[in-house]
């Protein structure tokens, strides 16, 4: 599932890149840097756009709605939005939670 999600994020990142000056180095795969609050690749508008696009594609792929920008994510010390890999790990956790809680 993790690999599938990484690929999904890469696809969305590549699509977003077409509109960005500061492109996400999606070719680096899981280690590609997204956002670390200071000098990440994405400005906040682009991050919002990416998060929404990823949420929607996860919804389509797994038929489960998740909310990426939830309280936990916003307060986690290690932000899940740092890299493509950390975001994918976080999505795996959310999907598992969804599946166990129904």
């Amino acid at each position: 599932m993790y690999e599938k999600i990484v690929n999904l994020i890469i696809m969305q990142a590549e699509e977003l890149n077409e509109t960005l000056e500061n492109k996400i180095p999606a070719e680096l795969g899981a280690s590609a840097s997204l956002f670390d609050g200071k000098d990440g690749i994405l400005d906040s508008i682009a991050l919002v756009t990416l998060i929404v696009a990823v949420e929607q594609s996860v919804e389509d792929e797994f038929e489960t709605s998740i909310i990426l920008a939830n309280e936990k994510a916003m307060s986690l010390k290690n932000s899940p939005f740092k890299t493509i890999g950390s975001l994918a790990e976080y999505i795996v956790i959310l999907l598992n939670e969804e599946n166990t809680n129904g």
Binding site: I45, V52, E55, S65
Partner: protein, 233 residues
Amino acid sequence: MDETQVMIITGTRKGIGKYLAHYYVSKGFIVIGCSRGEVDYKLSGYQHFCLDVSDEKKVKQMIAKIRKTYGRLDVLINNAGIASMNHILLTPAHTVHNILNTNVVGTFLFCREAAKLMQKNKYGRIVNTSTVATPLKLEGEAIYAASKAAILSFTEIIARELANFGITVNSVGPTPVETDLIRSVPKEKMDNLLARQAISRFGTFEDISNVIDFFIKKESEFVTGQNIYLGGI
């Protein structure tokens, strides 16, 4: 924009929302509505969802369905709302939670989820509902008026946050309109209230759709973060 526009209206079972659903279907919009109860009408071009606007999961599911069916959303009208006349000393906390959940949390959830879909096309029009009870400081409506004051602030700020996505956010503040919402207000109180308007009459459904028409026009792309009160408040 040549294609048919897709619109969500909340609170369409009765009152203002029911009128708006009929009105915008007749103007050629695809309208998707919701309320806790079923609707007693059928309209081609109208689809209904039974949900509570403060139920995050259900709201997400509704927008996901719209995304899959139409792939777009052009307009959101946050109309669902409840009121309760009560002196503060007689107001149960439970009532406060209910009003805030429907009027504030419901509006928030629909704005958030709708904007996620609207931003794909870099186009969107959101209209929230305020009320003259806020500027008129109506006694007995402290929580209702406060919940709508929250809508004003919320509208002004998300108008800025969503501007970059081509989404405008405004609100319309009706005067009393004869629906179930105000049925329990005593006549004398109502007459006093109408007397405080520049134009002392009840509002009509058409007064409201007229303002919404303006906000959701394509040409209104430079109008955002605004509230229009009816009746001359």
